[in-house]
């Protein structure tokens, strides 16, 4: 048994009377290097520990939960957190649906989500990667005027969740990233572009991939115009699609649904999207960087079909939102670190790939606009009403080919319409860090506001 699980279970021994305790402990190490002008700008090495404790008391009229956390695993910090969590219980409103997860018999997938290289590759080699990335971007194109930041980062995290209701789960994960932001100039204006490559360890990342992305994105945006206002087909690239999918994923959370905060509420079994559109949440797929054997309550994760050929199949639930909806948890509790309490959410979305390459999608649609980045997403999308109005940069598509770069535009529609208006899905699925994988996605009926 892992050391962290033992520690969590030891805290459970402090249970008093009929209360229930749930403990989440985590331990992580990280390295971050930023290179600038051939040298290290900063280098961070650190380790962090944390514990989150929830206490539940039950009575005839319902259960109550209180919680507390500490950024340390020392005994004093743990006792203080347990004391605070117990005190906080008293103030919660009794709720018949509140409960801790109980083992549900689903076996967790066997996933190897760690790379030994995070540990074995020396800090010097990691530093060298960041410096090499900076140099490579700078040397790529004479129009690159500056490399704002080129960094290597990695982390290794291990955690355990245990409860007096029988939960005992552990997980471990490593990640490594190379990312770079470059600025290109044509003498009159500057444009920036960002590139990334991610993997489980430093040997799984592709430096040239990050370089190419950053260089292409900033150089081809030079000379961007503000086009006239129009309506048409927007083609989202893999990164922009991933952003879009995570927004849609938010409205597929059972939590949002039971609280009446999703435009999908009450529409199970209806056609909510184009028949080409199949979206699943599958944390058991190890190719997805967000894969995980267990959810935030320590239940096994599973593959959940959300939208199949346009038909709304289901939502994702944690224990409490599931009880409110009268269904079982789908193993989809999310937890925002030690200070966060579980709540239902999608974790590892993927859109079923289509058959066309990006170039074929351009050819098929003829005219439209290619969207490379979305900005202002957190302010411009309302997951309750579905209103969608987001800033974008990209390029016009004319006669099936990329044409002038465009900036200072917004793309607007509603999420409901956009799902139904999907006209093509690319075959170019890309595994990205974050909630969703992405690929080329073409959507009709988009208003592009320019001048």
């Amino acid at each position: 048994m892992s050391e962290l699980l033992q520690l969590a279970q030891k805290i459970l021994e402090q249970r008093v009377g009929s209360e229930h305790i749930e403990v989440f402990v985590s331990r992580s190490t990280e390295n971050d290097v930023r290179a600038y002008q051939g040298d290290i700008e900063d280098l961070t090495t650190a380790s962090s520990d944390g514990v989150g404790i929830r206490v539940l008391t039950d009575s005839a009229s319902g259960a109550r939960v209180g919680s507390a956390w500490a950024g340390s695993l020392d005994e004093t910090a743990i006792s203080e957190a347990l004391r605070e969590a117990r005190d906080n219980v008293r103030f919660a409103t009794e709720d018949e649906f509140v409960a801790f997860a109980q083992p549900d018999g689903v076996t967790a997938p066997q996933l190897n989500l760690t790379s030994p290289d995070v540990d074995s590759v020396s800090l010097d080699e990691k530093v060298a990667l960041a410096i090499e990335l900076e140099r490579a971007v700078r040397d790529s194109d004479p129009r690159i005027r500056q490399v704002d930041s080129a960094s290597y980062s990695d982390y290794a995290v291990a955690g355990a969740i245990a409860s007096t209701t029988g939960i005992a789960a552990t997980y471990a994960r490593t990640m490594a990233y190379l990312s770079v932001e470059a600025i290109a100039t044509n003498g009159e204006e500057d444009q920036s572009g960002w590139g990334l490559s991610a993997g489980r360890g430093p040997r799984d990342i592709d430096l040239d991939r990050a370089r190419r992305d950053a260089v292409q994105r900033c150089t081809r945006m030079l000379g961007a115009i503000k086009p006239t206002t129009r309506k048409g087909i927007a083609v989202f690239d893999a990164r922009a699609t991933a952003t879009l999918l995570s927004i849609i994923g938010g409205a597929l959370s059972g939590e949002a649904v039971v609280r009446g905060r999703s435009f999908f509420a009450g529409r199970i079994g209806e056609m909510v999207a184009s028949p080409r559109f199949t979206l699943i949440d599958d944390p058991t797929d190890p190719r997805h960087f967000a894969a995980s054997p267990f959810d935030g309550e320590g239940l096994a994760t599973r593959r959940n079909a959300l939208i199949e050929n346009g038909l709304l199949r289901g939502f994702v639930y944690d224990t409490v939102s599931g009880r409110r909806a009268g269904v079982a948890s789908t193993g989809s509790a999310q937890r925002g670190g030690i200070a966060g309490s579980p709540s239902a959410g999608v974790r590892a979305l993927q859109l079923q790939p289509g058959t066309l390459t990006q170039e074929e999608v351009f050819r098929e649609i003829g005219d439209g606009f290619f969207i490379e980045s979305l900005i202002g997403v957190h302010s411009g999308v309302n997951p309750i009403s579905g209103d969608f109005s987001v800033g974008a940069t990209g390029l016009l598509i004319r006669d099936g080919q990329l044409a002038e770069p465009i900036r200072e535009v917004t793309v607007a529609s509603s999420l409901q319409r956009m799902l139904l208006d999907v006209v093509a899905i690319g075959s170019d699925q890309e595994w990205l860090p974050g909630t969703a994988a992405g690929q080329t996605l073409a959507i009709d009926g988009i208003s592009l506001s320019g001048s």
């Binding site: 961070t44 090495t45 906080n88 800090l123 200070a339 202002g376 009403s385 209103d387 900036r407």
Partner: protein
């Protein structure tokens, strides 16, 4: 309680000496003890109270232009020396000789707080949340949901460095948010209002909470009658206090010296030049007591200050932290901030605002024949290289023939910061501020923004109406 007790002075000196033993030019230790409480009310239920505590130290070592950084939750001598050694690993040359550390006499600071949030009876916090729920629901039967969030933090820190800085601050912040949903024939609309101050819990009076709750409810109710916003280039009138975040994002970030020194800002090399309309005077001021971005000292121990960035349209200066100021041979402007001990400090804003003008808000609206009136801007984002920005309008109306008319559905505003600054053509006398959270390189810090009612041109409304 004084922040001086966070760590023993002898240990501070020992750690700084160890951190520079391999030849660092500069070393700093930042020790923090942070307590946070939060609670949410949803559908009349108090869902969960959460309390947290985090203690630790961040140590940085600077050699040339390279920074080494390590942090630890282990505040024992062994833990701190280990972190000092890790931070010093960037000093590869080794053996630069021992630095003598002569610390100044300790400067302690504290936020005005008669009631520390952690000591406030939790039952009283719960009562205030229920009050907000009652007030919001009493505004109209169409209010179907009310969510209330309460969060407070008490952050005690001590910072010391090899230049002799030795100071601490106890920062207390209290915040209430009310979110509402109204349902009508046209679907669901939302409302939002925060109450936030760098103050003790005494700020959270029933009057302030009730006002926020009723405004959040009114906003959702009003929006039920909203129509799709127009799209295209239109004059925009920002209500006082509603849109300071636009200048924070679209101009403030470009005036941070890290972006300037990397030539990554449109404002690099522009000091003394006319960058805005004569009506624009932009200030960053950490000394505004009670405001959400108030600080006695920044996270590098430097006293906060009132820094004029743009005066009557002319760029006067940038904002500076220790590292950037050092490179330019000047002093920091008190803008070195960090989210927690586990983060490196960088140049950040405090309270950033545009100074008020002389017109009345009514005059500005009356002189706008067709445009958009923004009563509340939501979050936004800016591309620092181009200055292009995007902001959500969470409450907006059409202006027709000099009068505020129909409410508009939510949509984005986009524009270019430097261009918009030049096209501010009216500023009123009704200055007010708003709290916000600023994210940069993954670090979140509380900031204040402010402005009086004003009119901008050259902004695109990203609506869906034809």
């Amino acid at each position: 309680m004084t922040t001086a007790t966070l760590i023993d002075q002898n240990l501070v000196e020992k750690v700084l000496t160890a951190a520079t033993a391999r030849g660092g030019d500069f070393a700093e230790i930042f020790v923090e003890d942070r307590q946070a409480n939060s609670a949410t009310l949803d559908q009349r239920r108090i869902e969960e109270l959460t309390s947290g505590r985090e203690r630790g130290a961040g140590i940085r070592v600077v050699i040339g232009e390279t920074t080494g950084f390590a942090h630890t939750a282990d505040l024992s001598e062994r833990g701190l020396l280990k972190a000092a050694e890790a931070a010093a690993a960037v000093a590869r040359s080794g053996g630069g000789g021992t630095k003598t550390v002569a610390l100044e006499s300790y400067r302690d600071n504290t936020t005005r707080a008669t009631e520390l949030p952690h000591d406030v009876d939790k039952a009283r916090k719960v009562e205030l949340m229920l009050l907000a729920d009652d007030v919001a629901r009493s505004q109209g039967s169409a209010i179907s949901q009310v969510q209330v969030g309460l969060g407070d933090t008490s952050r005690r820190f001590l910072v010391a460095n090899t230049d002799g800085v030795f100071a601490g601050d106890h920062q207390v912040r209290t915040r209430f948010n009310v979110q509402t949903v109204a349902v009508g024939d046209t679907g669901m609309q939302t409302g939002y209002r925060p109450v936030a101050a760098t103050r003790g819990f005494e700020w959270m009076t029933p009057e302030r909470i009730s006002e926020a709750a009723s405004k959040a409810a009114q906003q959702a109710l009003t929006k039920l009658a909203s129509r799709p916003a127009p799209s295209g280039d239109l004059p925009v009138v920002l209500a006082g206090g509603s849109g300071g975040i636009l200048f924070h994002e679209a101009c403030g970030h470009g005036l941070e010296s890290d972006a300037i020194l990397k030539q990554a800002s449109v404002y690099a090399g522009m000091v003394g030049e006319k960058v805005a309309s004569d009506l624009v005077t932009l200030i960053d001021d950490g000394t505004m007591v009670d405001e959400w971005g108030y600080l006695a000292i920044d996270d590098e121990g430097r006293p906060s200050a009132r820094n004029v960035l743009i005066e009557n349209g002319v760029l006067t200066d940038y904002m500076w932290d220790y590292m950037r100021a050092r490179k330019e041979g000047r002093v920091s402007s008190g803008n070195g901030r960090r989210q927690t001990y586990a983060h490196l400090p960088m140049v950040r804003m405090t309270n950033t605002y545009l100074m008020a003008g002389t017109q009345t808000p009514e005059e500005i609206i009356a002189s706008t024949s067709y445009g958009v009136y923004v009563a509340q801007l939501g979050g936004g984002q800016v591309n620092p290289t181009t200055g292009d920005f995007v902001f959500g309008m969470t409450e907006a109306y059409l202006i027709e023939n000099g009068e505020i008319t129909t409410p508009l559905r939510e949509c984005n505003l986009i524009g270019n910061g430097p261009a918009v600054l030049k096209r501010v053509d009216a500023v009123a006398n009704d200055f007010s501020t708003a709290p916000g959270t600023c994210g940069k390189d993954g670090q979140q810090v509380p900031v204040g923004t402010g402005q009086a009612t004003m009119r901008l041109t050259g902004v695109t409304i990203g609506g869906t109406a034809a």
